[in-house]
Structure formats: structure tokens, C-alpha cells
């Protein structure tokens, strides 16, 4: 398994290079930051200033050379220059990554737990009112635009705060702006309060799709011969469901969860924007609107690494959970 892991990591290096190169071409051609600089400033900058700016952001270099300088720079911890003169992209990225990780992890965890519970319940009670309701709610959530639901939740949060006279549910930012939180406990409560609504928002879609997945997978297993044999052995219902049905039905869910990480990151962009978090979402939107090439690349590189890592984790987890899979 160790050899397999090492091999997989080695294989992912060329994948990462190919994917970042394609992305780099796309990003470089997505706009002209130099023209923006030249036209958007008042008073108009001198020609020399524009050239200096172009040189600063490496816009004067040919693409291949630019890419090469960037990727080698990244290996040394240098993520390249931003159009915002004083911004250290590496530092910015990791600060924001920490913020976003909390949100994504919380949302995935909640979505996973709830979807397994609801999906399994729905399958066990197939064709009952409960099953139909869960299925319909799942369809509804899958059809609901994240941004619309987020705005709605934000309104609900404000309303609840008003009614209860508390400030527990934060609707702006990942923490209270003024640090009126004195003890670690109060800070924790403040963070949780700010985390609650965005987490629900982000968990919604994954919850819906994983519930459907769990239900389908569970149904297949419940109709399997080995579950029938488990029942023929006289095992009690609860044991058949947990040890035989769920245990096997959840294996493929590991893969699905990991593959969904990319789209959850996308959902986080929208969620963070609405709740005005200073996370990776804000970074992406800012960088895209200013055509900040290296900031975009930093974002995309990190997300590519996350996706690759999660894919690897999924495969390893699969081998741990399913004795039929062996890597060597």
C-alpha cells in the first residue's frame, strides 16, 4: 500500500503540471491587467509606469517562460507577484485556506452524517411516506440554487437574532469584527455562531446528492443475496442493517464524497461571497475581476492539489474498507 501511495503521488506530478499549464494558458488569456492598469487609474499613469507595472507582473515575458518561472518559483515558496503591489500571495492563500477549510470540513461532515442517516432510513422504508418525503426534499435541495438559499438563510438568521435578542448567529464574516470576545470559550462560541449558517448552506447540495446515493446503494445491498442469508441466519434486523447492509453500501460513498470536493469548493465560493467571509471564495472573485494571474494560479493550484489528495485518499480508503481491493 505504501508503494502504491508513493507511485500515485509520483504519477500525480505530471498530471498537476499538465493541468496547471492548461489553466495557466486560460488564465493568462482571460484578460489584460496591464490595459486595466493603464486605463483605470486617475490620472493616467505614464508610459514608463505602465511598462514598470507590466514588468512587475511578468506580463512582458513569453508565456512558456512565465509558466516556467512561476512553477519553479512555487517550489521555492514564491507564488509570484500580484497586481496589488503589497500582497504576498502565499501568505494570503494560506490564511484564507484556513478559513475555508473550516467551512468545507464542517459542511462535508454534517452532510455526510445526515445523508447516511436519511439515505439509509429512506431505503429501509422504501415506498413509504417517509421515503417519498426524503426523496422529494432531496430533489428540491438539488434544484435549489445555493446563492438563493444562502440569502434566505441570512434573512432567517437576522430574524432569529432579532426575535431572541441575541447575536449568536453571525451573518457577516467568519468571526466578529471587533474582538469583544475575551475568553477562548467566547471566541469559540463566536466562531460557531458564524459558522452555522454558511455550513448549512454549503452542506445542502451535498446532503441531497449523497442521500440519494446512499439510498440507491443501500437498496441494492438490501436486495442482495448476502443480506438475505444474514437474515436467514436469524440475525436481528438492526445487526443486518448495520453490519451487513450499511457496512457494504457505504464503501462507494467514500469515492463519491472525495470526487465531490471540487464542486464543494465551488459552492464555498458562492457561500463565502454571500456571508462575506475572507476566505478563498473572496480571493477568487477578487482575483478574477482584477485579472490577477498569479493569485488565480495560486488558487487553482491549491484546489488541484486538494482534488488530487482527496482522490488518493478515496482510493486508499476504498482498499481499507473493501477486502476485495488490493494495491501492490
Amino acid at each position: 500500500m505504501l508503494a502504491y501511495t508513493v507511485r500515485r503521488i509520483l504519477v500525480s506530478v505530471p498530471v498537476l503540471i499538465a493541468s496547471t499549464f492548461i489553466v495557466f494558458l486560460v488564465v493568462v488569456n482571460s484578460g489584460d491587467p496591464v490595459a486595466n492598469f493603464a486605463t483605470s487609474r486617475q490620472p493616467a499613469p505614464s508610459k514608463a509606469a505602465v511598462q514598470a507595472f507590466a514588468r512587475h507582473i511578468h506580463a512582458d515575458q513569453p508565456v512558456l517562460e512565465r509558466y516556467w518561472n512561476w512553477i519553479t518559483g512555487v517550489l521555492h515558496g514564491d507564488f509570484g507577484p500580484s497586481v496589488q503591489t503589497n500582497l504576498n500571495i502565499g501568505h494570503d492563500l494560506f490564511t484564507r485556506f484556513r478559513v475555508t477549510v473550516t467551512l468545507v470540513a464542517a459542511a462535508m461532515l454534517i452532510a455526510l452524517i445526515l445523508s447516511v442517516l436519511f439515505g439509509a432510513f429512506s431505503a429501509i422504508r422504501q415506498y413509504t411516506a417517509a421515503d417519498y418525503s426524503i426523496t422529494f426534499v432531496g430533489f428540491l435541495f438539488l434544484a435549489m440554487p445555493v446563492f438563493w438559499f444562502a440569502v434566505l438563510l441570512k434573512q432567517a438568521g437576522i430574524w432569529i437574532n432579532e426575535k431572541t435578542g441575541s447575536q449568536f448567529l453571525g451573518t457577516i464574516g467568519e468571526k466578529s469584527p471587533y474582538l469583544n470576545v475575551d475568553t477562548p470559550w467566547n471566541e469559540f462560541v463566536d466562531r460557531i455562531g458564524h459558522l452555522a449558517l454558511p455550513t448549512i448552506t454549503l452542506a445542502l447540495v451535498s446532503f441531497a446528492s449523497w442521500t440519494r446515493y446512499t439510498r440507491a446503494s443501500m437498496l441494492e445491498v438490501l436486495n442482495s443475496d448476502y443480506v438475505r442469508l444474514a437474515r436467514a441466519k436469524g440475525l436481528r434486523r438492526g445487526r443486518v442493517i448495520t453490519r451487513h447492509a450499511l457496512r457494504t453500501a457505504l464503501i462507494p460513498l467514500a469515492t463519491v464524497t472525495a470526487l465531490d470536493v471540487a464542486s464543494i469548493l465551488g459552492g464555498a465560493v458562492v457561500t463565502e461571497t454571500i456571508f462575506q467571509w475572507h476566505g478563498m471564495g473572496e480571493m477568487l472573485v477578487q482575483a478574477a475581476s482584477t485579472v490577477d494571474v498569479y493569485r488565480l494560479m495560486a488558487w487553482l493550484l491549491l484546489s488541484a492539489v486538494v482534488v488530487i489528495v482527496f482522490n488518493l485518499l478515496a482510493d486508499l480508503l476504498y482498499a481499507v474498507l473493501d477486502p476485495r481491493i488490493r494495491y501492490d
Binding site: V227, R228, L229, K233, R236, R237, R243, H244, P323
Partner: protein, 360 residues
């Protein structure tokens, strides 16, 4: 009479579908004496497996089951699932057709044997269960059972896996073992070994056996009595000798005629033409009539009941069973055009549109 371990009486099973009600089992009854072996024979879709699953209480919730199933005098139908689970695996054990899918792929085989031991023996500890699992694996003929106890199902062949399933079935010393086509999915060479393991299990536990199969050869070698099923009903029952030497129902005759035999002069096999009726729209009369060479007008009018025919305990459901005394398949069915391809078709009885296979 009091010796019966299992009594099935007037059992009917129906499945509501969008196109109407599938009447999979229509009034099946049998009585199993302690230690006795009963063979149930029929084509796919004749209701053999559904009957077995109804006895075990393992049919899907949509199935409508009526009649009576008494185990050791206790009525099982209508019992709660929790109460039934006390009987399953201890009183009545079951072996399924496909060993490749019968075992859970994520648990070692020893674990799956120990599970049923621990379930029915509350005093047993994990270590004791494991030791017993090793014993059981040895009993059913698995080499080096101490090592194999930790193997996963995918590490074993089909024959090995079916032996594990047999070990599970015999684990709690059951009174009845129901084996649903235990060798159908296996290679011919392995079939005999698995049947031997089944015999060992029976000898060890003294359990009565219900052997469901479409292979008359298996029935002849391993059972005392035979019941032939067609279109959800029993059409003939009797001792092995009754059925093989003095069949009183054209369908049984047809089954025998399509069996290759070395002791007979007739070189040709006699196939039964046509296919079993749809259980969705059964004709009013005898369900075998459309395929029966002896069909007369009376056959389309009413379905013949199971009546005494010939020897003691020999029953048959044919309006004209008396006329069949002493006839052979070749005389009743036209032998023309019979060939081994037809036999193969019958033997494999395409599982495509059989409600029985779909239901379970």
C-alpha cells in the same frame, strides 16, 4: 403424525404488480417428517423458491402470503420478524442458489459463521465461536480450516463458498435445512462434492431436508419423497419410486422423458414443447393443458385437484391420471425432433421472465 417438524398447508403467495397480481404460489402443502428428505422439482418460475422463502418469512413486504406454516407445531405465518428470527438459522436453516453472492464480501468467512453461532447461543464467547467455526469448516470438507477461517469469500472458489454456506446452515444444529438449488450455479465437477457436504451436514445434525432443484438426478440420489411443482402448484407428490417408476401426471412424465438415461433403449430425449404459463393470467383449467399431449376438453374447464393416485401417499393432479398407469414418456410425448439442444433449453430454463427469480 406428531413427528412432523414442518407442515405447510394451503400456502398461497401473491405479488401485486402494476399489471395485475402475480399468483406465484397457489395452495401448496407438504409435511416433513423428522429427518426426512423431500425434493421439490419444477421449472424456473414454478414457485419452488417462493415457497421456501415464504416458509422462512423472507419474502419482500409487498408479498401477500396466506395459508399455514407450522414448525414444531408452532404457526410461523403472522409471527413478528423478531420472533421469526429466533427460528431462522436455529430451527430452520437455508442455503441459497448462488454461493458467489451469498456471502458478504467484506467479512471473513469465519466471522460470518461465528455470527450465527453467537446469535443463537447467548452463552458462547467470541473465542468459542471461532473454534466452532473452524470445526464446522473442517466438517464440510474445507482443507486447513484454521487458516481458511480468516479468508474472505473472494479468496475462495464457488464450491468452497457453498460449503461455507452449508457450514453456516448446520451451525446451530437445525431441525430443517432448506436448500434452494444448492448446486445449480456450480461446475458439474464440484456439484457432487457440495452434495456430499450437504449429506454430511444432514448426518451431523439429523435435520430434515427440503431440496429444491430442477435436476431430477439430484432428487433421485438424495431424497425420500418428491413433489413436482408447476405454475405455483404441486401437481404430483409421492415417494421417489412412485415418481420415477409410476408417474401419474403428464408433466412429470415429460420431465422424466427429457432426462438422459443410460438404462433405456430409446436413444432420443422427449422434450416438453411450449413454455410455462404466465402467472399473471392463468387459464381457468389445468395450467399444463396448453402443453399437454393428452389434453381434452375437460382439461380447459376445471383445474384438477391433487388426488390419490396409485400407491400410499402418491397424489397427482390430473383428470386422467388413471390412464397413465404403465406408460412411458416416449408414448405420451412425440419423440420427433427431440434433441439435446431442446433438453439444454429446458435445463437452463431461461431465467428472463420468471416472476420467481425476480421476486427474490
Amino acid at each position: 403424525m406428531t413427528e412432523s417438524v414442518l407442515e405447510v398447508d394451503g400456502l398461497t403467495v401473491e405479488f401485486p404488480t402494476e399489471d395485475g397480481t402475480v399468483r406465484a404460489v397457489r395452495g401448496v402443502g407438504y409435511r416433513l417428517e423428522r429427518g426426512e428428505a423431500l425434493g421439490i422439482v419444477g421449472e424456473s418460475g414454478s414457485g419452488k423458491s417462493v415457497t421456501a422463502l415464504a416458509v422462512m418469512g423472507l419474502l419482500p413486504a409487498t408479498a401477500r402470503v396466506r395459508g399455514s406454516v407450522r414448525f414444531e407445531g408452532e404457526e410461523l405465518l403472522g409471527l413478528s420478524d423478531a420472533r421469526l428470527s429466533d427460528v431462522r438459522g436455529k430451527g430452520i436453516a437455508m442455503i441459497f442458489q448462488d454461493p458467489m453472492t451469498s456471502l458478504n464480501p467484506v467479512h471473513p468467512v469465519g466471522y460470518q459463521i461465528a455470527e450465527t453461532l453467537l446469535r443463537h447461543n447467548p452463552d458462547l464467547k467470541a473465542r468459542g465461536a471461532r473454534a466452532r467455526a473452524v470445526d464446522l469448516l473442517g466438517t464440510v470438507g474445507i482443507p486447513s480450516p484454521e487458516r481458511r477461517v480468516d479468508a474472505y469469500p473472494h479468496e475462495m472458489s464457488g464450491g468452497m463458498r457453498q460449503r461455507v454456506v452449508i457450514a453456516i446452515a448446520m451451525a446451530n444444529d437445525p431441525d430443517v435445512i432448506i436448500a434452494d438449488e444448492p448446486t445449480t450455479a456450480l461446475d458439474v465437477t464440484v456439484q457432487a462434492q457440495v452434495l456430499d457436504a450437504l449429506e454430511t451436514a444432514r448426518a451431523e445434525t439429523g435435520a430434515a431436508l427440503v431440496l429444491i432443484t430442477h435436476d431430477l438426478g439430484v432428487v433421485a440420489g438424495h431424497t425420500d419423497r418428491v413433489a413436482v411443482m408447476y405454475a405455483g402448484r404441486m401437481v404430483e407428490t409421492g415417494s421417489v419410486e412412485d415418481i420415477f417408476y409410476t408417474p401419474r401426471m403428464p408433466y412429470t412424465l415429460g420431465l422424466l422423458g427429457s432426462l438422459p438415461r443410460l438404462d433405456r433403449e430409446e436413444a432420443r430425449l422427449t422434450p416438453i414443447t411450449g413454455s410455462p404459463p404466465s402467472l399473471l393470467h392463468l387459464p381457468p383449467g389445468c395450467p399444463f393443458a396448453p402443453r399437454c399431449p393428452l389434453r381434452r376438453d375437460a382439461c380447459d374447464g376445471a383445474e384438477p385437484p391433487l388426488r390419490p393416485a396409485g400407491g400410499d401417499g402418491h397424489l397427482s393432479a390430473c383428470h386422467f391420471s388413471e390412464e397413465l398407469v404403465g406408460t412411458g414418456a416416449g408414448e405420451v410425448f412425440e419423440a420427433a425432433g427431440a434433441d439435446s439442444a431442446a433438453l439444454a433449453r429446458f435445463a437452463e430454463a431461461a431465467p428472463v421472465n420468471t416472476p420467481e427469480e425476480d421476486a427474490v
